[in-house]
Amino acid sequence: MLVIKDLKVKISEVDKDIIQGFNLKINSGEVHAIMGPNGSGKSTLSHAICGKEGYEITGGNINLEGRSILDLEPQDRATKGIFLAFQYPLEIPGVGNLSFMRTALNSQKKARQEKELNPAEFLKLVKEKASHLSVDMEMLKRPLNVGFSGGEKKRNEILQMALLEPKLCILDETDSGLDVDAMRQVSQGVNALRSPNRSFLIITHYQRLLNHIKPDYVHIMVSGRIIKTGGPDLALQVEEKGYGHLIANQKN
């Protein structure tokens, strides 16, 4: 599904590469978790995968289903099935949440030459998906993320993910700022989407999310590259001993 090879990423504001030779392979249906200390480049990686402007690829490649996506615009990557649940979802006054989601879904459908949904069809679909995430009509009618609590923003991201049915779901610290109940709802939302043809890249600080969403692999990312890969027990190790221990081990 996704193959990242020796990726190097520079952002315009910073002189050196933030991502420095990053390798990752995710097969269809797999769930990968990336853990790492603050500033290790996790969000930069997720933005680079989505094609954000200002993120210069200075080396390496990103392939989706065997084809490089580096020359694609963000919207084309989205249409190909890449979805990022933002660490900080943006508040956009004046844009209705509901009409934003319909425009997004129909844009993708149009680009894939599928039939677009009319407002009634869309409303039915969104209501069904929203109910599982405790997103009510009131939230859907508000301007996009404006005045949403931290938890509401994250649930709204997962709702978009459920609507757009991407092939690769990237969750950037979706668990941060969630209370126990919201964490359970979000995890259930994610687990409901798990399928043999959908892969997940879950970026998190804490092991606790991984109790709800069982990963196949856990990677530890430090200073722009993966320093260790393991199974779910690696996350437990981090929780117990911290990153410092792993970094020290690596240096030896």
């Binding site: 919207q75 956009i92 006054p93 879904l105 844009s107 680009a111 301007p143």
Partner: protein
């Protein structure tokens, strides 16, 4: 501009029948204009947009012509209440119909009003204008006053059920003066929607007199198809606890200057002025020059200006809040935002506060910038094309003004017009 003055005075052929009060006013305007003169390029109040842009406005049309019924009307179904000015001249059929239907208001056209010695307007004509001239001279309004023969005088006694639309249509590039007078009695609410879709160069002056606890709702739309010059003056006098909401939507490719003067003469008035402009090329100039005078205590005023500019378009906002020593507990607010989509376009702003009372809240701000790249990325990351995402963000920027429009049918129409303008 000397010629123009002479021209407009010579053409006044109906003046013989006019009543003394109207003749006096007209003469005064002509004399004052001679004293004041038309504004020069370097006049302070015109430093952002040259008065030459509007030098073709403000002559009276040749009267007594036929009314070419153009079928390029903007609404498929005409609204219930409307009058139409075709090439600057009121269509008598529309006026007749309106008079018949609208029992809540006394309506007459300009000419019949000024020929009536005892007309209700005889103590009002020019009074709000005179007050407005204390802040700045308004030569284009004087030009209008010296040579108007068209307009409607409307005395609103009770609230009409629906908005009254005023259409300005026509194909000919006439130079047109139009003069309206509105009086709204206690407890009445009037909603006026002006729609400019004609090719004439308009000089429109509206004076409004709001009795206590009355409401004036006013919308002005300048069609996206026009490239002509338009200057409007909107002079409103507000008595105690009256409410004004005036919203201007400017979508054309010509020069539009709206001078608004809101005189809060009673306490506890609540006034809102909103302006929205979409400028698409270098002949597009949208100028909102606003003066709000707080003269009594506990009034509230808001000014909200939003301009989207591209391809060398220009927008001007001169907004002043004046607070008299008597006007304690004033709550004044002013915000102007320019969304500038390229380097060729300009958003020129001059906010001013002049405050002589100590117990007031007045805040003002102005921003000017391009599209938010983070917002753009968020939309694109969901599969929305660059063009569509830009459009969504531009519309979102304007939404704050659009949502002020109270008539749902009209706001729907405005939304559609804006969408079509942005394509």
């Amino acid at each position: 501009m000397k010629n123009q003055e002479k021209h407009s005075i010579n053409k006044l052929d109906n003046s013989r029948k006019r009543s003394k009060w109207a003749l006096n006013y007209q003469k005064q305007c002509q004399e004052d204009l001679k004293k004041v003169g038309m504004p020069s390029r370097n006049a302070e109040y015109w430093k952002f947009a040259s008065p030459n842009l509007w030098e073709n406005t403000g002559l009276i049309p040749v009267s007594g012509k036929n009314f070419p019924k153009n079928d390029t009307q903007y609404l498929e179904n005409k609204p219930e209440y409307y009058v139409e000015f075709v090439d600057g001249i009121i269509d008598p059929v529309t006026l007749q119909n309106l008079k018949k239907k609208l029992k809540e208001c006394e309506i007459s056209n300009f000419e019949e009003s000024v020929c009536d010695q005892f007309h209700w307007a005889n103590k009002l004509l020019g009074k709000a204008e005179t007050k407005a001239r204390k802040s700045y001279e308004r030569p284009f309004a004087l030009l209008n006053g010296g040579g108007s023969s068209q307009g409607i005088f409307l005395n609103c006694k009770e609230s009409p059920r629906k908005p009254i639309h005023i259409f300005y249509s026509g194909e000919i590039e006439e130079k047109v003066n139009i003069r309206h007078l509105l009086k709204i009695n206690c407890n009445a609410e009037l909603h006026i929607i002006e729609h400019f879709s004609g090719n004439a160069n308009y000089n429109v002056v509206t004076e409004g007199f709001l009795d206590s606890t009355s409401i004036l709702n006013h919308n002005r739309l300048v069609s996206r198809f026009l490239r002509n010059s338009i200057i409007t003056h909107f002079f409103i006098n507000c008595m105690e606890s009256s409410v004004v909401k005036t919203i201007g939507i400017t979508l054309n490719n010509g020069a539009v200057r709206n001078e608004t003067f809101l005189n809060l003469e009673g306490s506890q008035c609540d006034v809102t002025l909103a302006g929205l402009g979409v400028g698409r090329n270098q002949s597009s100039i949208c100028d909102n020059s606003v003066f709000v005078a707080h003269l009594e205590n506990s009034c509230k005023s808001r000014q909200i200006i939003k301009n989207v500019l591209t391809q060398g378009a220009k927008a001007v906002f001169q907004g002043k809040i004046y607070v008299d020593p008597k006007a304690q507990k004033t709550d004044g607010y002013q915000m102007s935002n320019g969304l500038i989509l390229d380097e060729k376009s300009n958003f020129l702003v001059k906010p001013e506060l002049e405050i002589y009372a100590d117990d007031v809240i007045c805040s003002h701000g102005s921003t000017s910038g391009s599209l938010n790249m983070e917002h753009l990325f968020y939309l694109k990351s969901r599969g929305i094309s660059t063009n569509e995402a830009r459009k969504i963000l531009v519309e979102a920027f304007l939404e704050e003004v659009i949502e002020e429009i109270s008539d749902l049918e009209f706001s729907k129409f405005v939304r559609k017009e804006i969408q079509d303008t942005l394509i």
